[in-house]
Structures are given as C-alpha cells and as structure tokens.
Subunit: 415 residues, 2 copies
C-alpha cells in the first residue's frame, strides 16, 4: 500500500502544476467533475450502501449513519457545490493590495496557493467532494483522510473526481485519498512537514488534542461551537423566539447550533416562560440558573459545567443577565469563538455586542446557524476556524491561499 509520505510527496510534486492552472481550466474541470458525479450515481450509491451496511452491522448510531448515507439529493448537492465553487472568482493571482514607494518601487501583494492541503474528517462522504473542489479552485493539491467507515464511498468519489479531472487536464495527484484510515495514518499526515502546507482537522476533541500534541505541519483548528444567543431588553420577542428555536433545534448536532441562551432581566418575566415552553415543545431539555427556574419551574439546574458545555444535542442552558455587559462578559468567558447572536432593536446594544464580543462570527437579529461557508456564499466550506491566526470563522477559497510580495523596480538599491 502506498505510504502516507509517498502520497504527500506526489501531492507536493503536483502542487506547482495545480498552482499554474488557469481559472478557465479549473472551472471547466470542476464542471466536468460535477457531471461525472451525476453519471456515476449508481456506482457511488453501491459503494456507499456497502459502507452503510457495514457500519450498521457494527452497531453505529443513527446520527452517524445518517451523515454517512449518500442520497440522490446529497449527490446532487455535492455536484451543485462543485458548480458553486467554480462560479466563485479565482482567488489565485488576485492583487490584494498594491502601492508605489517614494523611491519608485511598485509593491504588489499577490494571492497564491498554499501548496498541499490535508484534511482529516469524519464519516461524511460529501466532504470529500467539497474539499477537493475548494482545494482545486484555490490552486492547491489535497490529501484527504476520511473515516474508515466511509472508505468505500470516499474511494469511489475520489476515483470519479480524478478521472473527470484528468480529462480536464488536472494532474491525477492533485486529489488523493489516504487508503488506510487508522490513527497512525493521521499522525503521519500531521507530521509530513515540508510536504504538507496546511492541515485542517475536522472532528472532535480527541482529534484536536492529537493535532496540538503531534502536528509539525501548520494547522487551522476547526474547534468547538459553544454558541450563544442573547435576547436584549429591546428585542422583538417574537423574533427572539424564532431565532432561539432555529439556532437550537434546526440541526442540534452541528457546531453553529446554540448551546446557551442569555436573557436580559427586563424581558425575562414576560418572555422566558413562553419561549422555554416552545423549546420544550420542540423536545429541548432546559437547564437554568435560579432566576430561570423561579420563572419556569420545569427547568433543571444549570451549573458552571453547563455554561462550558457544547451539548450538540437538544439541551440548552439558560441564564438571566442584568445588563448587556453581563451578557458580553458571559460570552467572552465561556464562548469558544465560533458564533454568537444578539436579538435587539437597539442600535447601541448591537454596536456594543458586535464590537465587544470576541468571536469568529457575530449575528445581529439572525440565527447562529448561518455561520457556515455555504450560507456565507463561499460555495462550500473547508471548515470553521475557531482560531485567530490566518483564518477566523467560516473558511472559503481565500483562506486556502497565502500571498507573496512582487516588487518591480528599475535598478533600485538601498542607500
């Protein structure tokens, strides 16, 4: 079997060719890849069926089985994702800034690909196509390391993509899958320094810990989402109910779902009992501080552990705060810098919350569930960065690039 290092070496060798592809070639190839996914639907479904069957036989839970399963709708959405990525402007070659110095030197800051991007991800075969599309469009080669549970599906998808890409002039080594998905292959990948330029770990705490302990390759953390919704005293309360319900229940298992609700004391009496009943009606377990429990006795008790927890489930922690300052402090203390929302009609409150909350995305009168590359208009998503360096929040094509300075002179020397 080809080793992880060999795969990375091939990717590194292919990277300069991928970097030089014209936008037109890349877009044509992405479109051919989208067509090929449609055409290969029966074969892809068959490979996926085998994965799903094996996972079910191994006693895998329903949530994971659901993520693993390729449906016709999901295949269509993978193909649409590739077309949406093709429709984005080419980030490569963009001159992001440029100026002329007093000595006549013209300085350009030019966007260029990173080189080789590696992504470690969970059992979601659609990610395979998303990552391949984003990396190709941004001029990078990619090395994919999916879950062993999805290996047949991923192999089939990568094979369809590379065959279609080859016909469109894309080097075959531009998109490669690591064929064995045990822990050691992940560690080898995160230590392929000098071959891999960026690794994005998509997964739980164990993976993040492994990266932080073992990686020698630069990485971007796609971390926890302990997201907050703060209902200000000036909030439109019907809007607040809709946003909280959406942020908590529309898809509770993902990182941009809300985990804590903060309510200004001036609207707590009037709004909370009804809002919490609505949440409970949607199957949500409510854990509240003493004030919350006094207003709505069905609530369980919330402790500091609840403020710190990303439930990823139908549970919400609720706290009444006496001011927007207390709300901001709570978010900055317990949040994970992913996504937070304020519901307010007060401009000054909106401006303070957006300025003072330290997070990747801050929503005014909108659900945290919009913290997502697709929803931001990036076509697809490589992940959501919860760190501050290089990228923060949903990552699109630009986040997969670096820059170089190109300086034009006429013989200037430094005095």
């Amino acid at each position: 079997m080809t080793s992880v290092v060999e795969i990375c070496e091939r990717a590194a060798a292919a990277a300069p060719q991928v970097a030089r592809l014209s936008g037109r070639s890349k877009d044509a190839a992405l479109s051919m890849m989208a067509d090929a996914l449609h055409e290969a639907a029966p074969a892809l479904m068959e490979a996926n069926d085998a994965d799903v069957e094996a996972a079910r036989a191994a006693g895998t839970g329903d949530t994971i089985l659901d993520r693993l399963t390729l449906t016709e709708k999901r295949l269509t959405s993978m193909a649409e994702g590739l077309r949406a990525v093709a429709a984005q402007p080419d980030p490569v070659g963009e001159i992001t800034e440029g100026w002329k110095r007093p000595n006549g030197l013209t300085i350009e800051k030019v966007r260029v690909p990173l080189g080789v991007i590696a992504v470690i991800y969970e059992a979601r075969p659609n990610v395979t196509a998303d990552v391949a599309g984003l990396c190709l469009k941004s001029g990078n080669a990619c090395v994919l390391r999916g879950s062993s549970m999805a290996l047949r599906s991923n192999r089939a998808i990568v094979s369809v993509l590379t065959e279609a890409g080859r016909a469109g002039g894309i080097p075959v080594d531009a998109v490669q899958l690591i064929p064995d998905a045990d822990r050691s292959s992940a560690v080898e990948l995160m230590q392929a320094k000098g071959l891999v330029d960026l690794i994005v770990p998509r997964g739980g705490k164990a993976l993040i810990d492994t990266i932080q302990e073992h990686a020698t390759v630069p990485f971007i953390i796609d971390g926890d989402g302990n997201c907050h919704v703060y209902v200000d005293r000036s909030a439109d309360l019907d809007m607040a109910t809709r946003i909280v319900l959406n942020a908590k229940t529309q898809r509770p298992s993902v990182c941009n779902a809300a985990e804590t609700l903060l309510v200004h004391q001036e609207v707590a009496d009037k709004w909370l009992p009804e809002a919490l009943s609505s949440l409970a009606g949607a199957g949500v377990e409510v854990r509240g501080d003493a004030t919350v429990r006094a207003l709505w006795p069905q609530a369980n008790e919330a402790t500091d552990e609840d403020w710190a927890t990303e439930y990823l489930d139908l549970t919400i922690a609720v706290k009444v705060v006496d001011s927007i300052d207390a709300a901001i402090q709570h978010v900055n203390r317990w949040g994970t810098s992913n996504a937070e929302a304020i519901v307010t009609a007060d401009l000054s409150a909106a401006r303070r919350f957006t300025a003072e909350v330290d997070s990747g995305s801050i929503f005014v009168n909108a659900s945290t569930r919009f913290s997502d590359g697709g929803e931001f208009g990036y076509g697809a998503e490589i992940g959501i960065s919860t760190q501050k360096l290089h990228a923060r929040g949903p990552m699109g094509l630009r986040e997969l690039t670096t820059t170089k300075y190109v300086v034009w002179g006429e013989g200037q020397t430094r005095p």
Copy 2:
C-alpha cells in the same frame, strides 16, 4: 519579581481596553511617546552605556555591540518610527470585505486586534520602541522579552513609553517588559496559552527550534534569509553589478542580504569576472561552482552546503545556470522563502520568475535589501515572516490583527 504568567495576565486584562482605543487616542499617545524618547535621551543613553560597558567587559563581539548601542541618531530614528506608525491608517475596524446575501443578511468582515502579542528579540533596544508602537497602533497589548544584554536600556525605554502612554490614556499594562531574560522566561512565555495570542520570535536557529518544540501559543516564524539574486541573460549588466553589490555588502549581517548569486550562462563570460572582482574588492569571499572557478580562478569551491548556507557575512556562493528554469529550481530547492531578486530586461522572464519562485518577496530589478517593513512603507517592522500562514514577508500593522464576521439581519432563520 513579577512572574511571566502574571505579566501575561495583566496584558490580557489590558488588551480589551487597548482594543477599544480610538485611532485618535492611539496616534496622540504615539506622538507623546516619540517626544518623550527625545526628552529622555540623556537617561536612555546612560542606561544604554551601562549595558554596552557590561557587554564589552564580557567580551561581546563588535557586530553585537554595534546593534546594542543607542546613538542620538538611533534614538531619533526610534522616535521617527513611532511617528511613522502613527501616520499609518488605523487597521482596527477596517471592513476588509462586505456583501449582501440573497436572504438579506449583510456580512461584514471586520479587522480587530489579536489581543496580546509577545515578541522575543535580540540585543537591539530600538526593537523595543518599534514593537510597542506597532502593537499599540494595531490595538494590541504587548509583552516584550529582549536580550539580558539590553535589559537596562529596554527597562528605561519601556518606562519612558509607558509613562508617556499613561498621560495619553493608554493602560500601563499595554506595554510590559519581562524583567529576567533567561531561557526559562522565554519558554514560559511561549507556553502562556490562553493569555498570549501570538508570539513572534526574532532570533537565530536555536530560538526557532525552541519555539517549534515548546510553544503552545500560536507563533509566526521570522526565519532564515538564504536570499538569491539571479542575473538573467537579458539583464542590464551594470544594473546587475549594482544590485548584487548592494544586496551582498550594504549590510551583510541581516536576513535580507543576498547569499547566492545565480548567473545565466549566456552572460557569465562577459559579466562574471568583472562582477566578482567588484565583490572581492568590497571584501567579499567568492565560492563558485566549476564554471565560475574556470572564469574567475580566485573563487573558492562551492559545495551543496554553500547553496544551503545563510552566511550573514561577506561571503557569496555563485553558480552559473543554463536557463531561467534552472535558476527557479535552484531558488525553490535551496531558498528559505524570504527574498529573491531577478535582474532582467525581459518581461517574460520577469513574469515567470515572479510567478514560479515560491518566496515571501520577489524583486524585479531591485535589491533584496528592500524586503523590510520600513522600506515597504509600514512605518516599522515586527519581523519578516518566512511561513505561509497568516503573514508572509515583511509584517506591518495588518499582520498584527485578525478579523471577525459581523452579520446584520432582520430575524433570518435557517430553513
């Protein structure tokens, strides 16, 4: 003595206050700091004299003594640096991108400070003022860890800056110096995770190795500069001589000085003997490949080790290449992604070299010595990044910031 962690905690507590300072307050404070450096010149010189005397008594070499010494000219240039930084546009609050989604959400990408920036640097007291100025202007608190050799000078400078800043409304903990400069304080600093948002190590290989082994805080490597000058067959040969002499000899001890000269074979016969004689005349030792030694027998032999070496001294490695492809390959194999130059009159050669050389800064018909924050117009410099993530090349104010997304809605929820 205050511990490193306590210093970092104070910085972290001050950071949100620094982040909220108006551009006007920051610029006024920087101007007061510049004035204060002038006024305190006698006290600063006295502190510096003590450092220099102790270093000389300890047998410190001339190059380091020179860097350590504060002259009136250097003090003036420190003050001018602060004023130049004040004259830059405020990076904080800049909306770098913004767009509206089909569902009516307005997305803004807003530049915000990183928080706390730590810099570890060598015995150059001027860096103290440069770093403090850049961090303040970019809305960050900073923790400075200079060389023990410059401790008295750094203490005096920080004290002058913080006193002037205090008068201008800057929190005193916005600029702090670590009072003991042994190795353990550096390691403590690079492990102050959750308190320090970015650490920039300015120093040699030992420091970089320590960072890569021990840092838990995110870092940006200000690494080696094995810089190249390539003289193309179409070069204006007089210009080539001027640029090579400048890049090699104007200040050989710094990272943007040239270390290797590549010459196209078509101009080697005509140009090399004269150019190498000029370099030798400026005190440079020439090490060449066989072709070079045949053309100019005074050259010593160059081996692979020479292609890999950053001499930081009056030595240059010289190689004759048979094509621009060979030149690009050589730079990409041996370079350290700092700064490279091509001397050419041929547009196609210039476009190929700038596109295909993988480096932080690429100069066409100009000296590599311009790879510098001040020369780029950034007022001062926090360092030159030789990595690809977050920042690449000379770092100015923007590189000391991150972004957050601010999204404005009217009650949007995700369907």
